[in-house]
């Protein structure tokens, strides 16, 4: 995961060097040094937790802008279903899709269409024998990276089928090239309308596929006002949407799992809850589970840091939107088969980032030093040294990234002793 082009970045000028983000980062990827935060690139999973937490808006998600793609002849928008939950008094998805076109896209293809197909293929896949149960959804890229980093044993449990964003991009491209014979592949760009930094990051650093068919990712929050304005202007609403209840449900936690028609599922949302569930799966204490859906954000994708609306309000809106919709509008013709090209081609990384050393001897020696230093520390986990907790400081000291004097509590004790 080195050379990762992250979406989550820091605006140093806004950062006050407080300890809010370091203590809540699920992979302990942030430290405060010289009065401001730094993000350890190889530890960051782009979950966006720090963006939500930062009281000074110093953490930001970077994303692409529609203007950056003006050199393409044909621009396809692939909106995440979370987009529809952002708008008040909406009873027709087509209204948003038409407005999206008016924003400067040449075509739209809903990610929820691909999601409905993925649902069908996942059902078929789950019937196979000898699967490592429970199968864990691979749709949330923050969760996939979390598993690679913190739960490498569970990498084999990840669903080896493409996430809807990737499949949607491929289908959209195919469809456009078929209907527009004048276009070449390089004339077309596919832009994901993203609810979260993790998916922006996915486009830059794809998981499980060699190259992503998605060209770029724009933010829901960035397009929100434009779409709102266009929505008022448009006169004719085009019949564009081809999504049913299942596709829309993917926007919220549990949407993917419930559509698999098994009761033996678990759906958790919020990164801390997900970590807890993954710990339990590793312990082997969750019996009889077929499928586990994990969403890093509270509420699922509607909770992503690039949305505008509160996740629960968005979810409620989606619920009324899906009324009178068919269950699914994307069905697979051939029976029981799963097309080969929908499977992930690259094996998911079992990250070695967390390792202290390459050889075990050295690692054990380092760990022994860490434990020795840790025993001495005050165990307050106050964060004033710039590390999220005392153990992380001990690790940093042994790695040469920090010094004992960084512990302000101990420094004060020494000072008081010297002055007696």
């Amino acid at each position: 995961m080195s050379h990762n082009k992250h979406s989550v970045t820091l605006d140093i000028s806004r950062c006050k060097g407080c300890t809010n983000c370091i203590k809540r980062c699920p992979t302990e990827a942030i430290r405060v040094r010289d009065g401001h935060a730094i993000i350890k690139e190889d530890h960051c999973i782009d979950c966006g937790e720090c963006i939500r937490l930062c009281p000074y808006q110093a953490k930001k998600a970077t994303y692409d802008r529609l203007e950056d793609f003006s050199n393409y002849k044909f621009k396809i928008a692939i909106p995440a279903p979370a987009l529809y939950g952002q708008f008040e008094e909406l009873d027709d998805v087509d209204e948003i899709l038409t407005a999206l076109l008016a924003c400067g896209f040449d075509a739209v293809f809903e990610v929820s269409r691909a999601a409905e197909l993925i649902t069908e293929y996942t059902r078929r896949y789950m019937k196979r024998e000898d699967l490592p149960k429970p199968i864990i959804s691979s749709a949330c890229p923050a969760i996939v990276r979390l598993i690679s980093l913190r739960f490498p044993y569970l990498v084999d449990h990840l669903l080896p089928i493409m996430p809807p964003i990737e499949y949607a991009a491929r289908l959209a491209r195919e469809e456009v090239l078929k209907t527009h014979s004048e276009l070449k592949d390089e004339d077309v760009c596919v832009l994901f309308v993203s609810p979260c930094p993790a998916k922006v990051s996915y486009v830059r650093n794809p998981l499980g596929v060699k190259q992503s068919a998605v060209t770029g990712a724009v933010a829901i929050s960035d397009l929100y006002f434009k779409i709102r304005a266009k929505r008022k202007e448009i006169k004719d609403i085009a019949p564009l949407s081809q999504t049913g209840i299942i596709g829309l449900n993917w926007a919220g936690s549990g949407g993917e799992a419930t559509s698999l028609l098994t009761d033996k599922y678990l759906a958790a949302d919020g990164i801390e809850n997900c970590i807890h569930v993954l710990d339990e799966i590793e312990h082997g204490t969750l019996h009889d589970l077929e499928f586990v859906e994990l969403n890093a954000c509270i509420g699922g994708c509607v909770g992503g840091a690039l949305n505008v609306e509160n996740p629960f309000i968005a979810k409620a809106r989606l619920r009324s939107l899906r009324k009178y919709l068919p269950i699914s509008r994307n069905r697979v013709k051939e029976l029981d088969a799963i097309p080969e090209d929908i499977f992930l081609t690259e094996t998911m990384d079992r990250s070695t980032t967390m390792r202290l050393a390459d050889d075990r001897m050295t690692a054990i020696a380092k760990m022994a030093k860490i434990e020795l230093i840790y025993k001495d520390l005050p165990h307050l986990d106050c964060g004033s040294c710039g590390a999220p907790n005392c153990h992380a400081l001990a690790e940093d000291i042994v790695k040469g990234d920090a010094e004992r004097q960084d512990c302000l509590i101990q420094l004060r004790e020494h000072y008081e002793k010297d002055n007696k």
């Binding site: 204490t285 390792r355 075990r360 054990i364 020696a365 760990m367």
Partner: protein, 139 residues
């Protein structure tokens, strides 16, 4: 230094925190570069042991010694002891109270799982005094 020791006080009063030592050990072993398989075996054995100490012995102490070629888990409690170890080792045998069973524990798989996931397991127990279990996972 050819080994590293991790010491844990297992709190018998707080059932909801049972399993935390296992989570910590998992993190440490990962940082030391052990294979996922070894980590899983140690963390499951550790977890079962922790749960046992909380359910039956009002807590105790756990020590994990990590060597290059093996990991040793020592669980010591001052609980009621195990009157019949052979019987306790049987799959499905459990003396866990009903309120614990309602949480999904007490299936009588704790000790058998600890044996299954480790390469060696020794139990010393005296009724009224306590139990010490030493498990080894070879790397």
């Amino acid at each position: 230094m050819d080994k590293v020791n991790f010491h844990f006080e297992i709190d018998g009063e707080n059932f909801t925190s049972a399993g935390e030592a296992s989570v910590r050990i998992k993190k440490m072993l990962r940082e030391m570069g052990f294979t996922p398989e070894i980590i899983r075996r140690v963390s499951v054995a550790m977890y079962e042991g922790e749960i046992n100490m909380v359910i039956h012995a009002n807590g105790g102490e756990a020590d994990v010694n990590v060597f290059c070629d093996r990991i040793e888990i020592i669980l010591a409690d001052r609980g009621p002891g195990i009157p019949n170890i052979d019987l306790a080792m049987q799959e499905g045998y459990s003396t866990a109270p009903d309120n614990i069973r309602s949480l999904g524990f007490g299936a009588g798989m704790g000790l058998p799982n600890m044996k299954r996931y480790t390469d060696d397991m020794k139990i010393e127990s005296e009724v009224g005094k306590g139990t010490t279990i030493v498990m080894t996972v070879n790397v």
